[in-house]
């Protein structure tokens, strides 16, 4: 399965990044690309629990796929959310079910961010996404 275009671009940029500072800068830039959430979307029903920071995940059904939106007050976490969304946005249900998100973050050199002990909550976001789309 080929990578969505934006995901391929992100992968290229992270592959070239040297050191944690560059990766953090890239994350912040990625975070700025997130589609903003309306106040109406920042409601309890969209809140992902299990994160120490406030994180929202909005899952909208479209004809053949899900449309995702995500947001957080923490900048670096926004970057991680953006990296997640570029990988899954626009995929058909069948394609989505096939995606190995752990492998995706590993390719990006960010696998440590996925550990269940990390309070950033990316782990909880992935669980929520798979529940919402199951």
């Amino acid at each position: 399965m080929s990578l969505p275009l934006e995901a391929a671009e992100a992968l290229l940029r992270f592959a070239e990044a040297q050191g944690w500072e560059q990766r953090a800068r890239l994350l912040m830039q990625m975070g700025d690309t997130l589609e903003p959430l309306s106040e109406a979307e920042k409601v309890e029903a969209n809140r992902v629990h299990g994160c120490e920071s406030v994180v929202w995940l909005v899952t909208e059904p479209r004809a053949k796929h899900w449309h995702f939106k995500a947001g957080s007050e923490a900048r670096l976490l926004r970057g991680l959310l953006a990296l997640l969304l570029v990988r899954v946005q626009g995929l058909t249900h069948e394609e989505l079910a096939q995606v190995d998100l752990r492998a995706w973050f590993t390719e990006l050199g960010l696998e440590r961010q996925l550990s269940p002990s990390r309070s950033n909550g990316l782990h909880a976001v992935l669980q929520r996404m798979s529940q919402a789309t199951a």
Partner: protein, 401 residues
């Protein structure tokens, strides 16, 4: 000026962490362990494990003796009076739950339980849930700007309806010692039982429980450089007699029939099932190690490091320290920067500190925060650890701002 820790090499994990480029500044969550403890565990498991208080055989007798010796050591360490007043649990949390169930029979609807506004969830939720089970009123004692319990308010709020007071000795978020002397005296005068959560306090000043004058005192071994899985509940003899059995099973029973049973008094009656034998023996070894140190030297080392930590944070722009921390730890937030982002950049640079609500969500809410960074110290930390933290913080903030 470099401030070394003379005890650093006694803790092999510090060097191991250093080789992994990790600077450990999260001792309030759990501590690293001295070699003496590792040796004691290796000795116990290497020379023959056995269950305690049941077997007549030689390994069983040796294990029981070692285990009971540790109870006596703890009693001496805490100046508890007698070993019978020391109950082993699986942690501070389980000791507090033991109390909340074991004392439940003494409450009637409308009675009050007073806790401070800064309690760890472990010393809040067992009481909150007890209050809900029994229709009691949970009274929250307010704190002041410094992070100290407001004594005047507490004196008003603790009255004849108060059946129990539960407070921590040293705050795990604010690093403040609470004014226990007058508070406990007042609670006693009102006829209330008192519970002191010493999980943090016990690590930074050796308690004198006969002098402190509380009914119950609770601690966790793993924060005091001991193994995890072991907690301690101290009870004044009369108060302990008031605690009903709460978990049932082996060892705590006196005589058992199919339809009824009779139970042992404390401490064994409150220690159902096989206790954490190796852990208790390990804790005994840790206490021997701690007793061999110059307590004054440890305290002044910790005080100097704490001053460096607090001073360094205060001199930096845009940093808000929570309360007025006195010992062991400092929590802070940075204006305009999310604490999760700070945690991220510190983690990337190998600095192990804690971010978030520190198991005290109501306190953080009260302070108007959704999280904070906490830097906490152990006796093995030195000023280079703090320098690495400050360098990483400066570098991280430059990037984030």
């Amino acid at each position: 000026m470099f401030q070394p820790s003379p005890w650093r090499d006694d803790f092999p994990a510090i060097a191991a962490l250093h080789r992994q480029q990790q600077t450990y500044l999260d001792s309030a969550a759990t501590s690293q362990k001295p070699q003496a403890l590792l040796d004691a565990l290796a000795h116990y498991y290497g020379h023959g494990a056995a269950n305690v208080h049941r077997a007549q055989h030689v390994p069983g007798a040796l294990a029981t003796q070692a285990f009971e010796n540790c109870r006596a050591k703890l009693a001496a360490w805490l100046n508890a009076g007698s070993a019978e007043q020391i109950v082993f649990t699986h942690g501070a949390t389980s000791a507090l739950n033991l109390l909340a169930y074991g004392l439940e029979h003494g409450f009637e609807a409308g009675d009050e339980i007073a806790v401070s506004a800064l309690e760890h969830h472990a010393n809040l939720l067992p009481w909150q849930q007890l209050a809900r089970r029994r229709g009691l009123r949970l009274v929250i004692l307010p704190i002041d700007e410094q992070g100290q319990l407001d004594l005047d308010a507490a004196m008003q709020l603790i009255g004849p309806r108060t059946r129990l007071l539960a407070v921590s000795q040293l705050s795990n978020v604010l690093g403040t010692w609470q004014p226990l002397g007058p508070l406990l005296a007042h609670a006693r005068a009102q006829g209330a039982l008192s519970v002191v959560d010493g999980a943090q306090g016990v690590v930074h000043a050796r308690p004198d429980l006969q002098q402190l004058g509380c009914d119950f005192y609770v601690m966790s071994s793993h924060k005091l450089y001991g193994p995890d899985g072991v907690g301690v509940l101290y009870g004044r003899s009369q108060a302990l007699a008031h605690v009903r059995h709460w978990q049932f099973g082996g060892e705590m029973v006196h005589l058992a029939e199919y339809q009824q049973a009779s139970f042992r008094p404390a401490p064994l009656g409150l220690e159902a099932g096989t206790p954490p034998i190796a852990g208790v023996i390990g804790l005994g070894a840790t206490l021997d190690y701690l007793a061999s140190l110059d307590a004054k030297a440890v305290a002044s080392h910790e005080a100097r490091l704490h001053a460096l930590l607090l001073g360094g944070l205060q001199e930096r722009q845009g940093i808000r320290v929570l309360g007025a921390p006195q010992t062991a730890l400092v929590s802070f937030v940075v204006e305009g920067v999310h604490n999760a982002d700070i945690a991220h950049v510190l983690t990337e640079q190998g600095i192990a500190v804690r971010a978030g609500h520190h198991c005290a969500m109501p306190l953080l809410q009260h302070l108007g925060l959704d999280g904070a960074i906490r830097v906490s110290l152990g006796l093995y930390n030195d000023s280079d650890d703090l320098q690495r933290f400050f360098d990483a913080l400066d570098q991280g903030l430059e990037l984030l701002r």
